[in-house]
Amino acid sequence: MNKTALLTFNEVSFAYADNKNVLESLSFTIYRGDRILMSGENGAGKTTLLKLLCGQIEPTAGTITKMSSLENLREIAYVPQIQQASQIAVSVLESVLLGLWGKNFSFLNRSKKKDRQEAYRCLELVQMESFAKRDLRELSGGQRQKVAIARALIRNPSLLLLDEPTTYLDKRSKSEMLSLISSQAQKGGWSVLLISHDALSDSLFNRVFTLDNTFMKERSL
């Protein structure tokens, strides 16, 4: 069966201001429906790779070719690494709803009732519906992480990028969240790239990579 390439890294390198390459000559392709686990030590360049994928930074050498649908950010959902405590009062439901910005609403096109219903449904998926009206500032790190996952799920993206999404979760929640992400991805035909330095079960992924700045190795499953 022919696989559709969603995104291709071609000899991509990246260096921050000190000119030392954090990533060097990386080449790989993400296909539609891939569920990829990317592991590696701290400082291996995993987060930098994600920032390149979602367009926050540009490669210093090489090219990233995206399918046209990925060119605008509507089709990408992202769970950032650190779910720091919110500095503003924002309800859990509102915070999930914000995941639809740029997709269902933006400056002159505001959110609708069905968007709120969808936000509630996503909170149910991560078992946080009873917290819908609570202030995000009152939640624990693990609870904020579940809300961040719900905020990504609501986007129904072509590509879901997750940076250490299980750091604050206990063993049971970790396994539940990974199963949820995997099942939602399969149902929606999404591609997933999950970055983690934790030892996670391979069984939920169809490709597993190890990254170490200058090389990336795909482990056969």
């Binding site: 926050q56 720091q84 503003i88 924002v90 309800s91 509102e94 914000l98 910005w101 740029g102 905020r151």
Partner: protein, 272 residues
């Protein structure tokens, strides 16, 4: 009541009342942005830039308020452009502007022999010197700030919640940050004129601090900030009128009372 009506029949005091209420309702909203974005120190920078602008104006015999506004706005715009990272770089760049503006003001004072007190009068603020044009400008600015919060409600919320996520979702962070710096500059320059530099916080910062303590979502934060800002302005104005206190000090006292009440309110809400 009669005293109040009599006072308000005097155009200068009526102007002051309208200016204060409008500033309380709208300028305070800026506080809800500067706290989460760690721009608290930037308001100091802008005050000193205003001082430099006023010193230059007095040296050249032009309107000090106008030049203070121009200086504050120009630096706000520059800071928006220069600030790529919203936390560290804003404060570093702010420190450079603050020190150089202060140095510039002292150099102007030394070279031109402008009496220092004339410049520091601006820092003390005097709402009774507000002309109808000043009042109109405050009302227009207030409406613009409220309009900014209404039209960019979700975008502001996203930037304050997580700027990195906002960027990935496609929110135009750089233009939004430029607008935020300009709004902050305008608010500081206007508050300077009303209550003076030392008490700018009473109008811009403290109502937002109080609202953030007791609100549970973003909309209630904005509404409570605006209400607390208006209460601060009205309370300060009435205290100044009835107890014959300096307006700036009365406004600051009122905002302190609101802060104390908000801490009590938060303690009560947490127990429920």
């Amino acid at each position: 009541m009669n005293t109040l009506m009599e006072a308000l029949s005097i155009p200068v005091i009526a102007n002051a009342a309208v200016g204060m209420i409008c500033a309380g309702l709208s300028l305070s909203l800026v506080g809800t942005i500067i706290i989460p974005l760690h721009l608290v120190a930037i308001r100091f920078t802008l005050m000193h830039v205003g001082l430099f602008g006023a010193a230059l104006a007095l040296a050249f015999g032009i309107n000090p308020t106008a030049l203070a506004y121009i200086a504050v706005l120009s630096v706000s715009l520059l800071m928006g452009i220069l600030t790529k990272n919203r936390k560290e770089q804003a404060s570093s760049i702010g420190a450079i502007f603050m020190t150089s503006s202060l140095a510039g003001a002292f150099v102007v004072l030394a070279v031109t022999n402008v009496p220092a007190m004339e410049i520091f009068d601006i820092f003390a603020g005097n709402i009774l010197l507000m002309s109808p044009l000043d009042v109109t400008m405050t009302v227009v600015l207030g409406l613009l700030i409220i309009l900014f919060f209404i039209t960019c409600y979700r975008e502001i919320q996203l930037i304050l919640l997580n700027p990195e996520l906002a960027q990935v979702l496609g929110v135009p962070i750089k233009p939004m940050m430029n607008i935020i710096f300009i709004v902050l500059g305008l608010a500081v320059a206007t508050a300077l004129r009303l209550v003076g530099a030392l008490l700018v916080d009473a109008l811009i910062f403290l109502p937002a601090v109080a609202a953030l303590r007791i609100s549970r979502n973003f909309l209630s934060t904005l509404i409570l900030t605006s209400v607390f800002g208006a209460l601060t302005a009205i309370g300060g104005f009435l205290m100044a009128l009835y107890i014959n206190l300096p307006l700036g000090a009365a406004t600051a006292l009122m905002s302190t009372v609101i802060i104390i009440l908000s801490y009590c309110g938060n303690a009560l809400l947490s127990r429920r």
